[in-house]
């Protein structure tokens, strides 16, 4: 187990280095002098630009610059924004991460609860109209692009019915449409998986045994069925959470939510490379951590994995 943990941590650190190095190199090879971008409209003399170049280490080779970047990042310093001159990247990232985590955790919980419910019901009602219609809805959910779904929902619930706000981030009511938009795809994918997994479990011997013991059907389905059916689903949940955390650019842009996704997209449009790098780093950490936590959970839930590794 210890060896396995070490391997996983090494893997995370390695992936982080790889991902940031790639993003870092790309940002340095980008066209346009970052100093000109920083200077913005002002016409600064060459001496000032040269002074800045040395101060920001931009005259060094890329790998050296990357070394500085990593050394500073380890001390919690991700550099300063080019666009909002003088503002630390971490100052921009911090609040954005809090916002994103808040509204996306609503979406994640929503997706998992609905998916497990739909999947189990479909499996129990295998091949009936309930099953077929639930799975058709799921396939529709997988297919609809999030911005198309968001457009339809804004039109219906915000403009025609006037039940919910169009965009913004003030009250919990503002969370509803973006959370549904974001949750739909993962929820649809998961419900299909839960159903398949549950169908497999339902025919296992221990289910027959549990029923033969005279347990109530609810106990059999939840304690014996669902618990076993959720193992294979767990990995996918981990990946989906990672994807949700790293996939809210469009939804946050549409609903004007000041989270990490909108920050990342705006930074790209403004060529604000330090902020782009910071967002990439934060999202990569979120993705790797969520898969790591799920791996650990596996060991907690399934004792077989603990003992064999």
């Amino acid at each position: 187990m210890q060896r396995y943990l070490l391997q996983r941590i090494f893997f995370i650190v390695f992936s982080l280095f790889g991902a940031t190095l790639l993003a870092f190199t790309a940002s340095r090879l980008a066209p346009g002098d970052p100093l000109r971008l920083m200077a913005g409209e002002q016409n600064l003399p060459q001496e000032v630009l040269d002074e800045w170049r040395t101060r920001y280490g931009l005259d060094q080779p890329i790998l050296v610059q990357y070394g500085y970047y990593v050394a500073n990042a380890l001390q919690g310093d991700l550099g300063k924004s080019y666009h909002y001159v003088g503002t630390d990247v971490t100052e921009l990232l911090g609040p954005a991460i809090v916002v994103t985590l808040t509204w996306e955790s609503v979406a994640i919980v929503f997706a998992i609860v609905v998916a497990v419910f739909l999947g189990v019901v479909s499996a129990l009602a295998y091949n009936t109209w309930i099953d077929t219609s639930a799975m058709t809805v799921a396939l529709l959910g997988i297919s609809l692009p999030d911005f198309a779904l968001a457009t339809f929902m804004i039109l219906l619930f915000a403009l025609k019915l006037d039940w919910l706000p169009v965009a913004g981030y003030e009250t919990p009511a503002h969370f509803v449409l973006p959370a549904i938009t974001l949750a739909t795809r993962p929820c649809a994918l998961l419900s299909r998986l839960v159903r398949a997994s549950m169908l497999e479990v339902l025919h296992q011997d221990y289910m027959t045994t549990a029923r033969a013991k005279g347990l109530s059907s609810r106990t059999v389905i939840i304690r014996h069925g669902l618990r076993n059916a959720l193992f294979p689903v767990l990995t996918v949940i981990g990946i989906l959470i990672g994807r949700i955390l790293s996939g809210s650019f469009i939804v946050e842009t549409i609903f004007n939510i000041p989270g990490i996704g909108r920050l990342g997209v705006t930074a790209v449009l403004q060529r604000d490379y330090p902020v782009i790098l910071g967002a990439t780093l934060a999202l990569a950490v979120a993705f790797l951590l969520s898969t790591f936590v799920i791996d650990l959970l596996y060991g907690v839930i399934d004792p077989r994995i603990r003992t064999t590794s």
């Binding site: 893997f11 390695f14 992936s15 982080l16 790889g18 991902a19 790639l22 993003a23 790309a26 940002s27 090879l29 980008a30 066209p31 396939l139 529709l140 997988i142 297919s143 609809l144 692009p145 911005f147 198309a148 457009t151 339809f152 804004i154 039109l155 403009l159 299909r192 159903r195 398949a196 169908l199 497999e200 790293s246 996939g247 650019f249 469009i250 842009t253 549409i254 990342g264 997209v265 790209v268 449009l269 060529r271 782009i276 967002a279 990439t280 999202l283 990569a284 993705f287 790797l288």
Partner: protein, 298 residues
């Protein structure tokens, strides 16, 4: 083989006269949703390829006398914010979407399959290097990477194709490697090696055919993902530039007028949604047809 089956093969004109493929084709024919999806996609491709003949108007021709008109006999799907014909723009948009989807999947899948085979078949240092690269690509937030890359390059269709190919190959590489590992130690491959067959021939004749089913499925479903990613880029205003009609850009532009003229956003959303649904149904149908074992489970 009996006469009856061989004649059927001839009528179907299959280049592979093996019965598993024929069985798959027959199963596919019985799946009504998959069949309807295939027909829909076929029609869409035809209309898009011959856009010059099928589109009633020039998609970039502005008519300021007819701005944001609702659907009428003259303009079946109405006109947009500068009076361009919506139907024509959607048809030309289909051409871009389908082209990007298929092109990126062909490039990315070929590349991914090649790397996956090398990693799985030869193992060792090849496996380590390729799979670590795949891990890094998985850790990178995919869409941000695409947005970032396109913004670094020229905003045209070339950079969109390059960027999406770059962020798509790891999926088929990982899938292919798993497939190769699963078949590598099968008796028929060991036998082929013992008979002195060269690696290239073993890969082409024995490894690939046995690993190709999930790749075909992933190829189809992947087209949907790529089209969606391109639409997402266009939606954010990065990538293929106006006045080129793309579905994503049309939906984005239409959102500005959603209160007064909802048809500007709705029609491109519907056609994009239908295309996604058809591709997913087709992918699902292919999975059931090519891999009957999956059907029994789910």
């Amino acid at each position: 083989m009996t006469d009856a089956t061989s004649s059927r093969i001839k009528t179907l004109g299959s280049s592979r006269p093996s019965s598993p493929w024929l069985d798959a084709l027959r199963r596919m024919g019985r799946n009504r949703t998959a069949l309807v999806s295939a027909i829909f996609l076929f029609c869409l491709i035809i209309v898009a390829v011959f856009a010059e003949f099928t589109a009633p108007y020039d998609p970039t021709l502005a008519d300021f006398a007819a701005i944001r008109q609702p659907p009428s006999l003259e303009h079946l799907l109405g006109t947009d914010e500068i009076g361009r014909d919506m139907l024509s723009r959607i048809i030309y948009g289909a051409r871009i979407s389908l082209f990007v989807g298929v092109f990126v999947q062909v490039v990315a899948t070929s590349f991914g399959v090649l790397l996956g085979v090398v990693a799985g078949y030869y193992g060792g240092i090849f496996d380590t290097v390729i799979m670590r690269a795949v891990d890094i690509m998985y850790a990178l937030p995919n869409f941000l990477f695409a947005v970032f890359m396109v913004s670094l390059l020229k905003p045209d269709i070339g950079s969109v194709l390059l960027t999406l190919s770059l962020s798509t190959w790891p999926f088929s590489a990982r899938l292919m490697r798993g497939q190769v590992l699963a078949t590598k130690n099968a008796d028929y491959i060991i036998a082929a090696k013992a008979l002195g067959m060269r690696d290239g021939r073993i890969i082409m004749l024995h490894v690939l055919p046995n690993a190709i089913t999930p790749i075909i499925i992933q190829f189809t479903l992947g087209i949907a993902t790529v089209i969606m990613a391109e639409a997402g880029l266009s939606f954010l205003g990065i990538g293929i530039r106006p006045p080129n009609p793309t579905w994503g850009a049309m939906i984005n532009k239409g959102r500005e007028f959603i209160r007064t003229s909802p048809h500007l956003a709705i029609y491109p959303s519907i056609i994009l949604g239908l295309t996604m649904i058809a591709l997913n149904f087709l992918g699902d149908g292919l999975r059931d047809a090519l891999d009957p074992r999956m059907k029994e489970v789910g």
